[in-house]
Amino acid sequence: MSHISPVLWEFLVHWLKNFAIFPPEASTIAPYADALYFALVGMTVTGLLLVMTMVLVFAIRYRQERHPEAVQIEGSTLLEATWTLIPLGIFLVFFVWGALLYFRVFNAPPNSMNIYVVGKQWMWKVEHQGGQHEINALHIPEGVPIQVTLISQDVFHSFSIPAFRVKREAIPGRYTTVYFQATTPGKYHLFCTQYCGTNHSQMIGWVYVMTPADYRAWAAENTSGASLAQNGERLFASMGCNACHSGNASARGPNLANVYNTRIRLTDGSTVVANEAYIRETILNPSTQVPAGYAPIMPTYQGQISEDGLIDLVEYIKTLDSNYRIQQTLNKSELSSAQASTVGVGKTPPPQGAAKP
């Protein structure tokens, strides 16, 4: 080895060190995805070997020098049936297998911890329930099922964590979700994989998987002082939502207590589940899906509340479990009207630097 020039040697060592061909497995999904992947690789290799063997054996066995006389064969229905049905059967197995995994990744268990991620050109803004805000970084505890709710405030983005084998599009104007449960503490790539303009390739970050204890310490250290729901409460008061949604019997707007995840009857007779998407939609386009018994008099808040603010409001409405909570907001709105102006339109979360793995 001493004959190799030291520069070249260093170069080679550097390369080999970086020569990864397989991403780390760091979520409960990853082993399932990898098993499916290897099965698919197995199928591809088998299929390729089968075709290449046929081609090579025939090409050598029946080359003109050895086999000058071609034998004309019309075809064979039996063979056609064989190579129609066997691939079809194999493909259908993969269809079922893949569908099971798909439903797992995109349907989080009900006890999941919900984290909001807003994509914008060209950064990821992460909002934890407890009010921790991050940019291009995501701190999560290991062993906890996590649902990420994504939305974009401009163009399509895509939230990809290769080590977890999950990815989900962040779409302007609608919520999408993805679920994962990290298994191994460490630092993993976070990418935007949907082309989103000039600095698409700079829209990357890190996912930090921490032990639950470390995570608690990080969360305590990095809290902005108000949870999403608390921010939402302030916004609710400062936008004057409680003027109509006061919870009184005579109120002009529906009572929002316990409304989350219930079935609502609309004026046109259909029903809809009041999920995050519905709550967001009724703030921006209130007259598209009006609950039965109410006039479409609510003004639109399109362009007045940022996606972050909408998330705060949604989270606040989700916590409203009684009229009493709304009354509290009503009282508080008078007290904190001075404060409220600081969390209004276009609020950006303070960036959290110096994150520890």
């Binding site: 921006l284 598209t288 479409p296 008099i297 003004p299 639109t300």
Partner: protein, 249 residues
Amino acid sequence: MDSQSIATTPEELDRSVLPHAHEHPAFLRHHFEDVGQQREAASFGMWVFLLTEVMFFGGLFCAYLIFRNWYHPAFVAGSNTLDITLGTTNTAVLICSSFTMAMAVYSAEIRRRGQLILFLVLTIVLGSAFLGIKAVEYHQKYVDHHIPGLDFSIQEFVHPSNPKAIPLAPDMAEKTQLYFFLYFAMTGMHALHMIIGIALLFIMVARASKGAYTEGHVIPVENFGLYWHFVDIVWIFLFPLLYLISRYR
């Protein structure tokens, strides 16, 4: 659609190998075996072309159906601002033009030059009348500020002048822009087809006056007829979807 043969066929190539080359009518192009084949090919080609046109309009109809479902009140309100009298008149005008076109094809088939020219001119007149009425409607929309992207105003939908109309909330009224955009896109695309059709009609009148279509070469008239009827049928779908559905009673 002229009767020129393959440009590269040289006169000196021994014609004897092309069977019966001299017996062909002048309009038969040399790559066809006989008039029947040429006629079948041309008409089949026209049908295939109309199929692509169906797919072309299909994208717009698809968008219309989706947004109509999403923003039904806005589409109802937008639809009611259209002038149904003008719309109905236009439908009648267009159906009449299809009739005159059909008569033009018939005239070409029975080889009556004067009659053919008369019906082609009538078709031009009716087609232009349709476009004229359409222009009046477009102008009305301009006056009402109902052209999206051009000083659009939702005033009429929030505070409707029609007593039967239900006022829309401002956010829903904004969605009427989508209705009007689709209205202009669909009727505009239709009008573009009409304009192209009328331009072709002028060329055909000029040709017909020289007797091009009344000597057995009916294919161009027949194919143009198919095109004209297709444009008519598109309107037959546009009229109810844009004007008639959910009229206030």
